[in-house]
Every structure is written in C-alpha cells, then in structure tokens.
C-alpha cells in the first residue's frame, strides 16, 4: 500500500521541519506554528522589525525580545480536548 515509502519519509519530514502537520493537526497547533513562523520572520527581517517597533513605540531590541518571548505560546494555552471539557 505504501509502495514508495512515502509514509516512511513523513517521520523524517516531521522531525526535520517542525511546522509540518498531518491530518490530525488541530487548528491551534497549526496557528501556533503560523505565529511562530511569522514572528521569526519579523525578528529575522530588520526592516520589518523596525517598522513594527516604530508602530509600537518601542526600541527595536525590545520589540525583537518581546516577539521572541511571545514565541513560547504565541496563541495562548492550547484548548482542552473536547472529551475532557465536558
């Protein structure tokens, strides 16, 4: 069924690329990855970081630091699984 080892490669894929997902990825996980990617992009790109720091009225370093901090839980805590919530 898995003749060409596509599934066997997925494991490696996920290990190498954190942001990739699968059919069971939840909305929260997906968005958390999006936010991290976005924040990383801002931090890495100096002009974008400057733009944001001007908008926020902070120093560039502070902005970058804040964004790095936010990467821990960019979207807040993960929602509880529905089974337990009830």
């Amino acid at each position: 069924m898995d003749k060409f080892g596509m599934h066997s490669q997925t494991e490696q894929l996920h290990a190498r690329h954190v942001g990739t997902g699968n059919a069971d990825t939840t909305k929260h996980q997906w968005l958390a990855h999006q936010h991290r990617d976005t924040l990383a992009h801002y931090v890495a790109d100096n002009s974008l970081a400057t733009y944001i720091s001007i908008a926020e009225g902070e120093t560039v370093a502070r902005t970058k630091f804040n964004m790095l901090q936010r990467m821990q839980q960019p979207c807040g805590p993960p929602p509880l699984p529905p089974a337990v919530e009830e």
Binding site: D2, N22, L31
Partner: protein, 1256 residues
C-alpha cells in the same frame, strides 16, 4: 604411571558423578510438569537468591503492571474504550498504514493464488546446492557440536516469568562440567596412546601361538569374556571413551576387559541404560550393537545383531532406525546422525557363510604381520563428541524413510510449493490429523507457530510475507517459548539452506523486537544458533548475524547478555570462545564500548584462566575491527585493558594481544599514538623474544603502530624493526611472509623513513627474496608483493624499482611475467615514466613487447600494461612505433582469434600516442587493415576491431580518415544488426561519432537505412547502447532533417513493446531538441489524434521529455499544447492524466518567471482534482506537477487551493491536503507568512496577527 592415572581417573569419575547428579537435579527442573520440580527449582535457586540486584537499576516490581501484555492485531480485538480517546490522541495513527482494510484482507486471501518463488524454482531446476552445511569448513562444522542449552531464568526481569530455567550458577556449573569433561577426554586420549605404545611392546613379547585376532574381531566391542583366556590383561580397546552427548552417563562397573562397551548415550538425562547383556559367543557373531533410543524414555537395550545396518563402528548413534519420525528435540540433541550408507554395509558373518561354500574352504587366519585397519573408528571413539561434533557427514534422508509419503497439502495451510523430507522431522506434527479443538491452548499455539514457520520456510513469497507479519504481530501473544523452541531447532537442522536461514533469522529478529526483554531466557539459545553466522564466509550472513545480535543485546539488555555469555568465555572449546568473543564485540558496538568496559577489564585480567584472558582480548580485537574509528574515544582504556597481555605467561594470550593491538592501531590510524605509549616497550622486547607465529603477530602490531608515530620516532622504530623484518624475509612460512610484506608496506609509507635508507638496506634483500618466480604462483602473495613494491616505488622512485625488475619481463615463467608487468604498469600509472630514460627505456620497451607477444591466454594485464607504458612514454615512444605496428599487423592476421582480439584492443589503447607522435601514416595502415577485417566472425574480436577503428577515428578526424567515412559507414550498417552486446556497443558508438562529426560524408539515404537498424537497438538490454542509439537519432536528424527520422519514430510508437516505445519517445524528444521543437511538435500533436492508447501516451511522454530537454525554450509552446493537455487531464485513462501531469511538471518548471502564469494556472485547475489519485506513480506525478506550479505561480496561489481541504471533515481529504501543505511549507515557508488567512480570536486564544494591521 598408568596406575597413577587410573586412580586419578577414578577420582575424577566420582567427582563427575556428583556433579552430574546435581546437574540432573537442575535439568529436572526444566520439565515443567509438577510441584516437585518447582521445589527443585527453588532449592537450586538458593544460589541466586543471595545476589541482590540494585532495585533502582533493575526495578523492583512489575514494570508492565499497568500495560497490556499483548496487543490485538485484528480490529475485533481492539477494545472499544480506546475509541473515545482517539479525539485527543492525534499522534497515534500518524505513521500507521493507511491502506483500507479490505485491501489488506484481500491480500491475505490472495496469498494462495500466487505461484512459487521463481528464483527458488530456478535454483532447484539447476540443482544448485544451497545447503549451508555442505560448504562449511571443518572449523565451522563445529557448530553442530553445540547444544541448545535449557532456558535460563531471567535474573534481571521484574517478574520471574520463566520458572524452571537454568540460573546463572547452574549455567556456570554446566560449563564447568563440560570443561572438565573435555579435560578428562584429553587425558583419556593421552592415556590410551601411552597404553597403545606399551601394549604394542607387550604384543611383540606375547607368544605367537595365541589365536591372532581376526580382522572383524577387532572393532567389535562386545566380546563376552568367558571364553577369553587372558582375562586379567587389560588391552588397548577396553577403555574406549563413550560418545557422550549429555552429561548424564551411567558408568558400568568394570567386569572384564571386554565388557566396557563404549556406549553411546544420548537423549534426555533421565534415561539410564542398563548394562549390555552378554551372550554366548559364536565364531561369527561378534556383530556390533546398535544403541539408540527412539523415544527418550528409560529403556534398557539388548544387544541387537545389527542385521540391517551392520556397523562396525560402535560409537555411531543409530537414531530412529525404525524409521519413525522423531521429534525435533531428539534431533537437536543428537545433532547429526551419521548413518552408514546401506550400500557400504559390511557383510555379516551369516551372509558370508551363506555366500561362501562350506566345503573345500577353510577360514584362513590372517598373517601375523597383518595389522587391521582400526584407526577410523578408533579415532571416532576417542574424539570427545560433544566438543567436536559429529562428523557433519549427512546423507539424504530418502534412504531412511522410504515409506513416508511427502504431503503436498498441509492441513490448515493448503498447498505448498515444496515439502522436503527433512521438514517431516519438524513439521510432522501438523500432519497427524488430530483435531485441534480437543487440544489445550499451549498445544494449539505451538501448532499455530509451526504452521506459520512452515509457511515462512516453504511458502510462496506472498504467503511468506503474511505469515511473517502474523508471527511478528502475535509474538507477544504466543510468548517467547513457543516461537523460539520451534525456530531454533530448525536453524540447527543439517539440511538448512541459505534462504531458509535468512528467513528464519528474520523471524527471530521480528519476534525479538516485539518480545523485548521476554527473550532473556532464550538469549543463550539464540546465540548458539546465531554465533556461527558471525564466522560465515558470506559477508551478508555475517552482517545479518551482527544485526541480530545487536538487536538481541538491545532487547535483552547488557546485564542479561553478559550473564549469559560469561560462562562461555572460558569454555574449553576454542570454537565456542571464538564465537563468543565475536558476539560480545557486536554487543560492545551495539551498546557502546563504555558500557562493556568494566566487564572487559575484569575478563582481560582474569587470574583464573588464560582462556578468559584470551577471549577478553579477542573481544577487544573484534570490536576494533567492527567499529573502526569508533573506538577512538575509548582507545586509552582499551589499550590499558589488554596491554598486560603482551607479557602474559601464555603464548596464545600474547599472540592474541599483539593481534588485538594491531587491530586497534589500524582502526585508530592516524590518531592515538599516545594511547599506545605504554605497550611500546613490551612490544619491542617481544619482537626480539618471539619466533614463529607469535613473532608474526608482534610484527603486525608494530607495522600498524609505526604509521601513527611522528616522523622521528617512526624513522627510529622502522630501523629497529627492519633488522628483524629483513631476517624474516627468508621465512618459508606463508603467514609470516604476508605479514612481513604488510609491515614493510606500512613502514615505507611512513613519512619519516628516508628513501636512501630503504635503497641501501631494504631493497637488495627485498628483491632477492620476494621477486622470485615462486611468489607469482600464489594469488595472495602475488598481490601483496605488488602492493608493497608499488609503495616502495612511491618512496624511492619508479626507475629504481623498474631497473631491478625490468629484466624479469623476459622471464620464462608466464605468471611471473604477468606479475612484473602488473607492478610496472601500476608504478607508471602512479608515478609516470619521466625518470625512465636511456638504456632503461629501451630495456623496458623491449621487455614489454616481448612479454606482450609471449602472453598466453586471456587477462588484461599485458594489454593494460602495454597501453600504460606506451602512454607513459608519450612522444618518446616514437622510435618503437614502427616495430609495434608491424607486430600488430602481424598479430591482426593471426589465426588465433584471441591474438587478433588483443591486437585490436591494443590499437584502441595506443592510437592517442600514435597521434601525438605524428605517425598518421602508420595509423592509416592499421585502420585499413581493421576495415578489411570487418567481416570477422568472432563477435568478441569484431567488437574489439570496431573499438580500434573508433579510437583511430577519434584521434585522426573525419576528413583524414582512411578508409574514407563514405566507405566505412555502409559497412557498419549491417553490423548494427548484430546481436552481440560488445559489437552493438562499439558499433553504435562509432556510428554515433560519425553522425555527430562527419554526417556530411554519407548520403541521406544511407542515414535513413541506418535509422531503421537503430530502431532495433532501442531494445538492447544495456543502457549505454540504448542511450547511444537515442543520441544517434538526434545527430542523424540534425544531419538530414527531422521529417524522415520523425516518421520512422512515430511509427515506432505503435509497437507493443514498452521499452521500445519509451526509448522512441526519448528519441523524439531528442530530435525535437536538436532540430527545434516547432519542427516536431505539429507532427507529434497530430499523432495524438490517433485513437490508440499506446500512441497517445507515447505522444504525451515525448512532449514531457521534450519540455524537460528544451527548458525555457518551452515558453513559446505552452499555449500550443494547453488544449492537448486539457484533453489528456480529462481523460478517463489514468496513465493519460499521469503523463499530462508530468508534462505540466516539466513545462511549469521551464517557464517559471517567463510570464506564462495564465496557461499554467488554467492547467492547475484541471490538475487539482487528481490529487486524490491512489496509484503511487500517478499521485507522485500529480504532486510533482503541483510543486512545479508552485514554483511557477508562487506559493500564495497554491496555498489558497490547499486551504480548502486542510480541515475537511473527511480524514482522507485532510491527509492529501496536508501533504501538499507540507510540501509547500518545506519548500517555501517564509513566503507563506504573507499569505496565511486571517483567523479570528477564540475565547482564550489570540489567533489574529496584529502586527499585520500596523500602519504608519
């Protein structure tokens, strides 16, 4: 002396009896039937109870308390509560098999339909013998002597799951017992020899009137003593050692000199044999006894006149003489019954009486000088069988069970491709026709395992696959014992074949993986079976064995492995120690050297036995060989561990240590000299002290350590060791020679050693001893000498060496000339021929020519050598070319095809040199000659002639070629039809070359004729031929215009054969590339209208290749092919859509960034619905096409498509969409940041990305 020994033996026997009783008590525990044995176990375990294991490390309670011990395979067994957790346990099915269940089940049913493994059928038809036992060396055969020891208790397991196994102390005692037995055997043997000597002396003194022995008296063991007159005298055959298979032996009290029947007792330990009853003696009846036990129960055997088997050798175990199928257990304990061939039986006295007339003849006494042949059976008896094993001699079972019909259908399995006679022993149980419903669960399980094993061993590949999966999945359900108790005896079977072993070993591997630490009780058994694979001559078998043992050590854990193998480390049998050392080295590499280091230290410093020390050092050696540079971090401790072994009192240990050090140094090179500092001194002293084999080992160690040293030290030590090396140059021992050569090579490559020193000190002796004819006769030395000589040349310069050996090119011995030529050619390849001048150059060319002309037989040494020497000389070869050419022309005319072929091959090699020397005239003569010989009938020779012509055409150019190209090509066209691969390859190369460079010399009609022949070449097996043919199409199309060639090719698309069609599509694409696409595309697209699947697919494929080759040229043709692709993507045929996808892939990649987004987007819309394709080829093609579209259109566009399905309610849809998303994410994650959709916050979570809303 002898009475002393007798007493000693008596004492030893008593001791042994005591031990045996203990062992019997211990092994009685293995019978797991009643409470008595339970009690025995607990008593026996008293030893181990005192050992307290660290509970932190090994755990106190049952660590599997909260877990299921087995996992159901089929859906029904899955417990329903699991379903409700599924929602928040997303990772679970992440990497599972995603095929629908009905497909999986379908495969299970389909198993029977498939035919037999074709490879095996071929092997059987050819009669290829794949039986492992038949190709084993004597040493490897010793594996048959090993037994599968009883299971062991799992001392490290949390729960004592396996009651009744051997515990560690019992295992140790067992081995001790075996060692003592071996010791005793050796003593008995020695005593026997001594006695024999003394008796022979006695015999000469005895009066000759005593009745001389008859030849058939001698070997028969059961002489009643009553008639013998000299009862007191003990003679030489009365102390025959029994062939002991188990530790339990009932010694018969001694009565007379004859009654110590050498008994062969085997089978289970509780069987006690009664003494052989004596009979009155007749003249003829001294027939041997056959002792055997069919059932393993305690039966006393009467003396049977061996009518049927008439064996003279009493020690041969006759098992299953009645032809009953015996259980695997017995088989395993008896290893190999060496049955006598029925045709070679000795005639019984009755038969002799019946045959010979009774009157007129007397039975003659043999002359007194006659000595009966008694050695074979003597030796057989004197050999301690459990150590050496039975002889490994195995006769097909057909003679034994002629009455058993071989079944083709096994109940519960169905038809099998084959069922061998030997399988009957193991799988006979399945055929007894009992109803399984009546059996208890364990028996049922056993049968289930047996059935699966039979399927794996004898089944068709699909059957095998399914059975393999089942046995792996259910391993925990079955438990370790039922699986291993069936598999392991199978692996010990004498008729095991390679493939069977591979499959069964795979079963062990899979089962082990599932069972985890439940394998612990079986570790030793598995090792006994797998260890022999580590010394197999087949590299793959060795690798397989390594893998199994490393998996085993991971499953069982280090403590269990060590506890299991510890008793074998100082086993009396060298074979056991050797294999154990190898197995432990695998464990070391699997679990890391640091883990094993404390144990190694302890073993290497063992005071008790030198065998243990040797084994420890061997482990280090094997680890170094296995792990190579992986040992570097632990080099210090390893060297420290074994260093003291150099000064061991035992020579074997010293030798092993030296070898281990050399292995360590070799693995560590070029680092780690500081680790060896401590052993340098003893090593150097050792070189002076030792002789023979151990000196060789020491020299080897030195040879590998010197290259690690810094320059000055290396120089110093090389000089030191060279004295000894030069002394040993003359050693007649081959082993020593090989090592000396290796050490010289190592020393010479070290930078610190000056060239002048080598020239003065080493070379004279070296050439005197090693460059002699004798060295060329043995392959290994041949290469060793050449290697070393080449290294020497690197040091002292090529001319120096060549001067010394060049004269040998005219030696009368052919192999020696070969050796000289090979050395010279390698030296010139490495160093060039710049320093060869004057007289040496003449001598060399002279010698080379002579050797070339004198060469006998095949082999490329002379040919290559000649080519290399001539090419090395370059322009300096000019004076010799005239002579070479005339020799060549003469040889081309030779009657012997081989000589013609060599000459033609030589032309190919020296053509470039002739060009550099400006000898075009000579070359033309040769090429005309070759041209004339194009009618050659031997294809090999014809291929070489074509090769020669090709190289001449290459160097001389099309315009100056003689004969002119216009004449040459028409001669080549018919040769293209030749079916011989060498001819085809050379011919197509030549034709391609001409088409490429000199197409204008040939008429268009001729080229068309060529095209037709070329079409056939597309069917060739060799890829290079097909590639050359396809390229040639391109050249020809370029020369004469694409129309005609294209017509030929398009016609070719209609043929049935796939390979031809594929090659044709490639050829069309190449034509399109060379002649611009607009010349080809219209015709190609027109061809698509042919309502034929093959043609349409061929067209699509051509277009795909076309776009691949033309790259960004494709931007002008996208719109042209769009409608065709639309049609193909809407086709019902899967292959159409697949091919269209691959066209889009190449096209979109080619036109990326060239303003063709509109048509590509349009095609993407048609492409997208195909993402749900399940066939692997088409889904691959579709996904790749989407990937290309992403490159062309940008990831944002494709992301919008992807977002539609990533959270679709259907899992199947989500899976595909996530795959596309992942693809995209991996390739262009930063670009996606800008395109993610805006998602509103939920109660606790912020999902909006506010920064995107900032405006300044």
């Amino acid at each position: 002396m002898s009475s002393d020994l007798k007493e000693q033996l008596e004492v030893e026997r008593r001791n042994r009896k005591k031990l045996e009783e203990q062992a019997a008590a211990a092994s009685a525990t293995t019978t797991k039937n009643n409470a008595r044995s339970q009690k025995a176990t607990t008593r026996a375990r008293g030893f181990v109870d005192e050992i307290k294991f660290d509970t932190d490390l090994y755990g106190a309670g049952d660590k599997y308390a909260g877990f299921d011990t087995s996992i159901g395979v089929s859906e029904e067994q899955q417990n329903p509560p699991q379903q409700q957790y599924d929602d928040f346990a997303p990772q679970k099915s992440r990497f599972g098999i995603t095929a629908p269940r009905e497909l999986l089940e379908e495969l299970q049913d389909a198993a029977e339909e498939h035919s037999e493994d074709p490879l095996k059928a071929i092997q059987r038809a050819r009669g290829t013998n794949r039986v492992i036992a038949d190709r084993e060396s004597d040493y490897q055969k010793r594996r048959h002597g090993r037994q599968l020891s009883p299971e062991r208790t799992d001392a490290f397991g949390a729960s004592n799951a396996t009651e009744g196994g051997l515990n560690y102390s019992e295992a140790m005692r067992r081995v001790q017992l075996e060692n003592e037995k071996a010791d005793l055997m050796a003593k008995i043997k020695k005593a026997q020899e001594e006695k024999k000597e003394s008796q022979e002396y006695q015999q000469t003194e005895e009066d000759s009137s005593a009745r001389p022995r008859r030849m058939w008296d001698v070997e028969t063991p059961t002489h009643p003593a009553s008639t013998s007159s000299d009862t007191k005298r003990r003679n030489r055959w009365d102390q025959t050692p029994a062939d002991i298979h188990t530790t339990a032996i009932a010694e018969t009290p001694r009565r007379s000199r004859w009654d110590e029947t050498p008994k062969v007792i085997d089978g289970s330990a509780n069987s006690i044999f009664g003494e052989t009853p004596r009979r009155t003696r007749s003249r003829w009846d001294e027939t041997p006894l056959i002792i055997g036990n069919g059932t393993g129960s305690a039966v006393g055997f009467g003396a049977t006149p061996a009518g049927a088997y008439g064996l003279e050798t009493p020690s041969v175990v006759q098992i299953a003489a009645a032809g009953s199928a015996f259980s695997s257990k017995q088989q395993e304990s008896q290893q190999q019954p060496s049955a006598m061939d029925a045709r070679n039986m000795y005639q019984t006295d009755e038969e002799l009486d019946a045959l010979l007339p009774s009157e007129g003849y007397i039975i003659m006494d043999p002359p007194p000088s006659y000595v009966p042949i008694r050695t074979p059976s003597r030796k057989l008896m004197a050999t301690p069988a459990p150590l050496q094993g039975s002889e490994g001699f195995h006769i097909g079972e057909e003679t034994k069970h002629p009455e058993i019909e071989l079944p083709s259908e096994i109940p519960g399995i169905g038809a099998l491709p084959f069922f061998k006679q030997d399988d009957m022993q193991f799988f006979g149980k399945l055929l007894d026709g009992q109803n399984e419903d009546d059996m208890d669960i364990s028996e049922k399980r056993e049968r289930q395992v047996l059935r699966l094993l039979l399927k794996i061993k004898n089944g068709t590949p699909p059957m095998r696959k399914i059975a393999m999966r089942q046995i792996a999945d259910k391993a925990r359900e079955f438990g370790a014992a039922p699986i291993f108790n069936q598999v392991l005896p199978l692996l010990m079977a004498p008729s095991l074949e390679e493939q069977e072993r591979h499959l069964l070993v795979k079963v062990i591997d899979r089962a082990m993986f599932r069972l985890g630490d439940l394998v612990r009780p079986f570790v030793h058994k598995i090792l006994v079976v797998i260890e022999p694979m580590l010394i197999d001559e087949d590299r793959y078998a060795r690798a397989e064995g390594c893998e199994i043992i490393s998996n085993l050590s991971k499953a069982a854990g280090l403590p269990a492995m060590i506890a299991t193998m510890r008793p074998d480390i100082d086993h009396a049998d060298e074979y056991v120690r050797n294999t154990t050392a190898r197995a432990l080295s695998v464990v070391a590499s699997a679990l890391g050297i640091p883990a094993l280091l404390p144990f190694l230290k302890a073993v290497c410093k063992s005071k008790k036995s030198w065998q243990a020390r040797q084994t420890g050092i061997r482990i280090v050696r094997q680890t170094a060989i296995l792990m190579q540079s992986g040992i570097l971090p632990h080099l210090n401790s390893l060297v420290e561990c074994i260093g003291h072994g150099l000064e061991d009192e035992h020579q074997a240990v010293r030798t092993t240590t030296a070898l281990a050090l050399s292995a360590l140094a070799e693995a560590a090179a070029p680092y780690g000299i500081e680790s060896f500092d401590s052993i340098l001194k003893p090593l150097w002293l050792g070189i002076r002290k030792h002789r023979g084999k151990s000196l060789a080992a020491f020299l080897k160690a030195v040879g590998f350590i010197i290259p690690l040293m810094d320059v000055e030290h290396a120089n110093h030590y090389t000089r030191e060791v060279m004295l000894i090396l030069i002394r040993e140059f003359q050693s007649p021992d081959e082993y020593m020679k090989n090592i000396v050569l290796k050490v010289v090579k190592q020393c010479v490559t070290t930078p610190g050693v000056p060239a002048q020193y080598i020239k003065d000190e080493v070379l004279p002796e070296y050439f005197r001893n090693f460059w002699v004819r004798r060295m060329a006769l043995e392959r290994r030395q041949y290469y060793q000498v050449i290697d070393t000589t080449v290294e020497l040349a690197e040091k002292v310069g090529g001319a120096e060496i060549i001067t010394r050996i060049v004269l040998h090119l005219k030696d009368e011995s052919g192999p020696y000339r070969n050796m000289v030529m090979e050395a010279i050619s390698r030296i010139i390849t490495n160093l060039g021929a710049m320093d060869i001048e004057g007289r040496l150059e003449e001598l060399l060319m002279d010698g080379v020519l002579y050797a070339f002309q004198e060469q006998a037989g095949e082999g490329k040494v002379m040919l290559d050598g000649f080519g290399i020497v001539v090419n090395g000389l370059g322009t300096r070869a000019k004076p010799y070319l005239q002579q070479i050419t005339s020799a060549l022309l003469w040889r081309l005319n030779n009657q012997n095809p081989q000589i013609r072929q060599q000459a033609a091959d030589l032309v190919a090699r020296i053509a470039p040199v002739m060009k550099t020397c400006g000898e075009d005239e000579l070359m033309s003569r040769i090429s005309i000659m070759l041209y004339e010989y194009l009618g050659e009938e031997y294809p090999e020779v014809l291929g070489s002639i074509l090769g020669g012509l090709k190289s001449i055409v290459n160097v001389i150019g099309m315009s100056d070629m003689q004969p002119p190209i216009g004449d040459l090509l028409p001669r080549l066209t018919p040769i293209l039809k030749n079916r011989h691969e060498k001819v085809q390859e050379n011919c197509i190369d030549l034709v391609g070359r001409i088409a490429d460079r000199g197409a204008e010399y040939v008429s268009a009609r001729e080229w068309m004729r060529n095209c037709f022949s070329l079409v056939d070449l597309l069917r060739a097996h060799k890829k290079s031929i097909r590639r050359a043919a396809v390229n040639t199409f391109g050249y020809i199309a370029k020369a004469i215009g694409p129309q005609d060639v294209l017509a030929t090719l398009l016609n070719n698309l209609k043929v049935q054969e796939r390979q031809t069609r594929v090659c044709t599509t490639v050829a069309i694409a190449i034509v399109a590339e060379t002649c611009a696409p607009f010349t080809v595309l219209p015709a190609l697209m027109n061809e698509y209208r042919v309502p034929e699947l093959n043609v349409q697919n061929g067209v699509l494929k051509s277009i795909s290749f076309l776009f691949e080759y033309i790259g960004d040229m494709g931007k002008d043709y996208v719109n042209a092919v769009t409608s065709l692709l639309e049609d193909a993507l809407l086709d019902r045929d899967l292959v159409h859509r697949q091919q269209a996808a691959s066209v889009i892939k190449h096209m979109a990649l080619g036109v990326a960034g060239l303003n063709n987004e509109d048509p590509v987007l349009h095609l993407l819309n048609y492409l997208w619905p195909n993402i749900f394709e399940t066939s692997p080829h088409s889904i691959c093609a579709v996904l790749e096409a989407i990937e290309s579209c992403r490159v062309c259109l940008g990831p944002g566009r494709v992301l919008q498509y992807t977002l539609q399905g990533m959270f679709h309610p259907a899992r199947k849809v989500r899976e595909v969409y996530w795959r596309i998303y992942n693809m995209m994410y991996v390739a262009s994650q930063p670009a996606l940041v800008a395109f993610y959709p805006r998602i509103e916050n939920e109660n606790k979570n912020t999902y909006r990305r506010y920064e995107l809303d900032y405006t300044i």
